[in-house]
Amino acid sequence: MDQTQTFGVRATEGAAVIDITGELNASSDPALSDAYAQASELSGLILLNFAGLEYMNSSGIGLLVTLLIRANRQKKRLAICGLSDHYRHIFQITKLDDAMKIYETEADALGSDR
């Protein structure tokens, strides 16, 4: 796997969290897809934690769209947390914020689900 990116999966109370660190681009597809498959077996709520994101291009945003469609098809909920102001702005431009629930922090996301 590309050493500039990792997609760690962990189970928390009420959700499976995917910690996205490093880069999110076209080469992330297989690793992100694997991480999603693992996470979806753990919980119905999958939280993408972007606190460790350092770089994202438009192919990375495309991967998130296809992941969202996959989650919708499987009746899973996909939520986002840990976005910096910059990446929150990109979610607004691309209108992904219309389709995904965005939380400030992981604690906020998990708290709102209880």
């Binding site: 350092e54 291009n57 438009s58 192919s59 495309g62 910096s84 431009i93 691309t94 209108k95 992904l96």
Partner: protein, 258 residues
């Protein structure tokens, strides 16, 4: 993961300059001579989640075997010659300042059946090895097209591969019908021609590989109202009312201001 919200907010990532910054309406910096400027200025840029029809991911690729062009060479040439690489009958008026994040471009084309179509795109993202165009409201499809180039190996041979990837939904019910009856073919033809033109620019005659995948078959009925912005209908009405505007011109008040 103990970084505070304030720390994260203050960091400027290295991709910051590559993204468009505006979230409101699309603005044209200038209108190129000869371009029909309709259905773009003041409209929203829309992504694949805002469209109506089934979602498609279409990938068009060409291997530049025999060329020593790097991915950066390919993308630089593609940005510079984007309008020239399009098939005849479709005119892409690139931004006068070039393909750069946030810039808007006009497209004058025609729908299957010959109906004129004036629409546009906004440059969502651009770096040295890729760029992405996002459509505006009323365009036949809602989504984005990412143009990229990478170095790939196959059978021990390394070469640069140019790619266009479309992630889209037909924008409204009328376009969704149109896409079924010729629209998808027309779109494939545009990008296959474009990729072949890119290859020719680097002296390569090569077959374009096309891969179309339906990511989500379900239409989004709550987006059926997108038809209000349908650029085909609006362009057609504009053309049909041209004689009326011509007759009324002497009686119209001159525009004031800039």
């Amino acid at each position: 993961m103990t970084e505070s919200r304030e720390q994260r907010a203050s960091q400027i990532p290295r991709d910051a300059a590559n993204w468009a910054t505006q979230t409101d309406a699309v603005r044209l910096s200038a209108v190129p001579t000869g371009a029909r400027n309709l259905n773009v200025e003041g409209k929203q840029a829309v992504g694949p989640l805002q469209g109506f029809g089934p979602m498609w991911q279409k990938t068009y690729r060409v291997r530049l075997q025999g060329s020593d062009a790097t991915p950066k060479d390919v993308i630089a040439a593609w940005k510079e010659n984007f309008p020239k690489f399009w098939p005849p009958g479709n005119t892409f008026y690139a931004p006068l300042t070039g393909i750069a994040p946030g810039e808007a471009a006009l497209i004058n084309s025609s729908l299957p059946g010959g109906m004129p179509l004036s629409t546009g795109v906004m440059v969502l993202y651009a770096d040295d090895e890729s760029f992405t165009l996002m459509t505006t409201q009323g365009h036949p499809f809602s989504g984005w097209v990412t143009f990229s180039a990478t170095v790939e190996s196959e059978g021990g041979m390394t070469c640069t591969v140019a790619q266009a990837q479309v992630l889209m939904r037909a924008n409204d019910p009328l376009y969704a019908v149109g896409m079924r009856f010729g629209g998808h073919k027309q779109e494939d033809r545009i990008w296959e021609w474009t990729l072949a033109s890119v290859a020719k620019h680097f002296g390569v005659e090569a077959q374009v590989d096309t891969n179309c995948q339906c990511v989500d078959r379900r239409p989004q009925w709550r987006r059926a109202g997108n038809i209000w912005y349908n650029a085909g209908i609006r362009s057609g009405m504009y053309v049909m009312t041209t004689p009326v505007r011509f007759v009324a011109r002497p009686f119209s008040r001159p525009r004031t201001g800039a």
